[in-house]
Symmetry: C2
Subunit: 87 residues, 2 copies
C-alpha cells in the first residue's frame, strides 16, 4: 500500500517521530512522509509511532491507498523531497 | 478527484494560504487540508495558491487520487479535523 503520513507532535517529541518515520518511509516535506509499505510494515510502523507519541496531545494522520499508481503528486513552489509515489 | 494538500510556507504567508485552502477544502491538521475537487476547482485552487505563495521559498504539495473510496485514513492520537475521504 502507498502511505502518506502527516504528523503534528510536540516539538520535544519530533526527533523521535522523525526517526520512526525515516525507518519506514521517505521524507517529502516538513512533518510529511510517504512510501510503499507491506501490511506487516504498516503494522510495525503504527506500533512504533504509538510508542513515541503522546496520544492525548499529538496527532499522526495516515492515508493509505492500495494502488499507488492512482496517486498523482504535484508541487507548487519548492520541491523539498522526492514525491514520486512509485520509486 | 480526492485531494490532499500539505504546505510549508513562511509564517507571514500562512494566513493567506490557510484562507485559500479553506475556500476549496477542509482542514484536517496543521498545514493539511483535504477534499473533493472537480477539475475546474482544482485548476482554480492551484491558480489561487500560486498568487499567495513565494515559489522560491514556499512548498505546497498536492496529492490527487481519482477514486476517493480507495483512500483509507487512520489517526493515531488526536483527531483534529474530519478525515473521512467521503463526506
Amino acid at each position: 500500500m502507498f502511505v502518506i503520513v502527516v504528523y503534528d507532535t510536540l516539538a520535544e517529541r519530533n526527533p523521535q517521530v522523525l526517526k520512526t518515520c525515516r525507518r519506514y518511509l521517505h521524507w517529502v516535506q516538513r512533518s510529511v512522509f510517504q512510501g510503499e509499505l507491506s501490511t506487516a510494515q504498516h503494522r510495525n510502523f503504527t506500533t512504533a509511532i504509538r510508542k513515541v507519541i503522546d496520544p492525548t496531545y499529538d496527532s499522526v494522520l495516515i492515508y493509505r491507498i492500495q494502488t499507488p499508481t492512482l496517486v498523482e503528486t504535484e508541487t507548487i513552489g519548492q520541491n523539498l523531497g522526492n514525491t514520486s509515489p512509485v520509486l
